[in-house]
Amino acid sequence: MMHFAQEAAAGDGSRVVTIILFSLMVAATLGITVWASRQTKSATDFHSGGRSFSPLQNGLAIGSDYMSAASFLGIAGMIALFGYDGFLYSIGFLVAWLVALLLVAELLRNSGRYTMGDVLSYRMQQRPVRTAASISTLVVSIFYLLAQMVGAGALIALLLGIQEGQTFLGMDAGTAKIAGIVVVGLLMTVYVAFGGMKGTTWVQIVKAVILMSGAALLTVLTLALYGFNLGALMGDAAQASGQDGFLEPGLRYGVEVAGDPLQTMWNKLDLISLGLALVLGTAGLPHILIRFYTVPDSQSARKSVNWGIGLIGTFYLMTLVLGFGAAALVGHEAIRAQDPAGNTAAPQLAQTVGQSIGGDMAGAVLLAVIASAAFAAILSTVAGLVIASSSSLAHDFYNAVIRRGKATGTEEVRVAKIAALGVGTVAIVLAVFAQGLNVAFLVALAFAIAASANLPTLLLSLFWKRFNTRGALAGIYGGLISAVGLVFFSPVVSGSETALIQGVDFSWFPLPNPALVSVPISLLCAVIGTLSSKEQDFEKFALLQVRALSGAGAEKATDH
């Protein structure tokens, strides 16, 4: 078997096809953006795409927001390198959608307008709660954005086959990574600033179709090599990995350290903490929540979550095949040589499978197809994050806090566009400096913050009669500060071999993932905050509940 790195570097055919497909995709998405910008007239068009997407369209966009490059390439890579534990990750990601379906999606659609802050502040004092909602939206989105963009830089360099010490179009690997970050950053800003939610959603729909088809094609071809016998594939993967317990949990998370029962216990508690963050984080991610506003009513929101669950579930089952396929057919050595974190396992598998079916040319084409699907995955997820941040800045912070609710729709859209430029610029600069950060860590952190800062407050707002402003603020800030603070004092930041800051050790919190502690802290803060304040507004609660449950007075779709 040819070594992927040499192959990609030597085989310019693949690189040419990849670049052609990348360019086609950029051209198509920019075309969509231009079209969408002409359709975007009102604030509702910009923030919520006119609320006129069909459940299937929104379901595809939901899948697209969720199946980021980190989860496509990351999970396939994790399965390839660590076997079963990668699958564990995808289960948390999927089950999380039940929280969104049962407790959040429809009620949010009925009671809010453009942002998560709409619902959090519904029966509270507007300015402090919207400020808090805006801050937590920005923090979660920026961490998630950094994860995607740092990954994007490295991936584009790898997908174009630029190795350390080589140059391409005059760029070495380091420059290519920065160029990748800047290109992705510029594109996402353009999609959002010009296309608004309409443009972003259509980019996501196109991406979902490309990604699902690419993954399905590769899954079928991989299984075909094994006569559609998944058991044989798994056996081969386990054997090729050379690791005991490859098909069981424990190689990556909750690792048992021989002779160190305390560390073993911390590792296992960290696994539980991660599981909690994954299952509770999704329904607190602002870019996921605002997707529920893009459909005409709550029934459509429900249907679109169902489409999303179907697509995402199918997709994760396919990554299981891709991950085991890469372990069996590409092999750990070749995967680790290309990228120690395993992020290129899926593209490498595409090339290997293509070669064994139709020779070098087929390998090159299949590699290019999967690389392009990954590129599309990066572009659409970051666009979703930028629009969530800029909508929140314009609607929650500028309109409600600074202008005290007096800004017109046109004014809000103008501010949102400027905010998109600002968020885009900040994200590009931060991502260039954050290149050394671990992508999986950033994603897990974003989920942990969303699970701590947003979800408890959101649920208490919808269901607890006594809940009030001080409780909401305590819940949001308590969750935000405890999640970020605990990570800061964890072995992720200092005091371990892989820590961000080497040479010092100020860590005292043993778990890399804070959710197990920070979610209860947030809940406790929210309850204590509420009970310590006399404020209570049962009338607003009645109004919110009648509206949320029945849909009376819910925002309507705009007609064109």
Partner: protein, 127 residues
């Protein structure tokens, strides 16, 4: 710094299109038997089901952390308990989504429509 009502806050909530739902009507509706029925039907499904699927998921995570012997038990070929448990999480997620959708269509949507209709009639009656 206790505030009895949030009326001290000068800015009106930017939510709502105003026309469709008046505060008085909504407050009256909140204790109306039709709304209480809708609320009871919703709560009766979503809370027990949420507790159930979270417990089921937590059991899976706990088993992955502490029940490795059981999880590693081979059932047949290369299929072990861990894989089956994982696939069952997928199946239960799909299943609960389907159950909820059927339940909502049958019990929640008509009740919600009834509440909306009652509010509309009241609105027209008072206009």
């Amino acid at each position: 710094m206790t505030i009895e009502r949030s009326s001290k806050d000068a800015s009106p909530p930017p939510n709502g299109d105003g026309a469709a739902l008046s505060a008085e009507a909504a407050i009256a509706m909140h204790s109306d038997p039709r709304f209480l029925q809708l609320k009871q039907r919703l709560y009766r499904f979503i809370f027990p089901m949420s507790i159930a699927f979270l417990a089921w998921y937590l059991l899976y995570v706990l088993m992955s952390a502490f029940g490795r012997d059981v999880m590693g038990t081979v059932l047949f070929g290369n299929v072990n308990v861990a894989l089956v448990f994982g696939v069952l999480q997928f199946a239960s997620t799909f299943g609960i989504a389907i159950c909820y959708t059927l339940y909502a269509r049958r019990h929640l949507d008509p009740a919600a429509a009834e509440v909306r209709e009652a509010l509309r009639e009241k609105e027209e009656g008072s206009a």
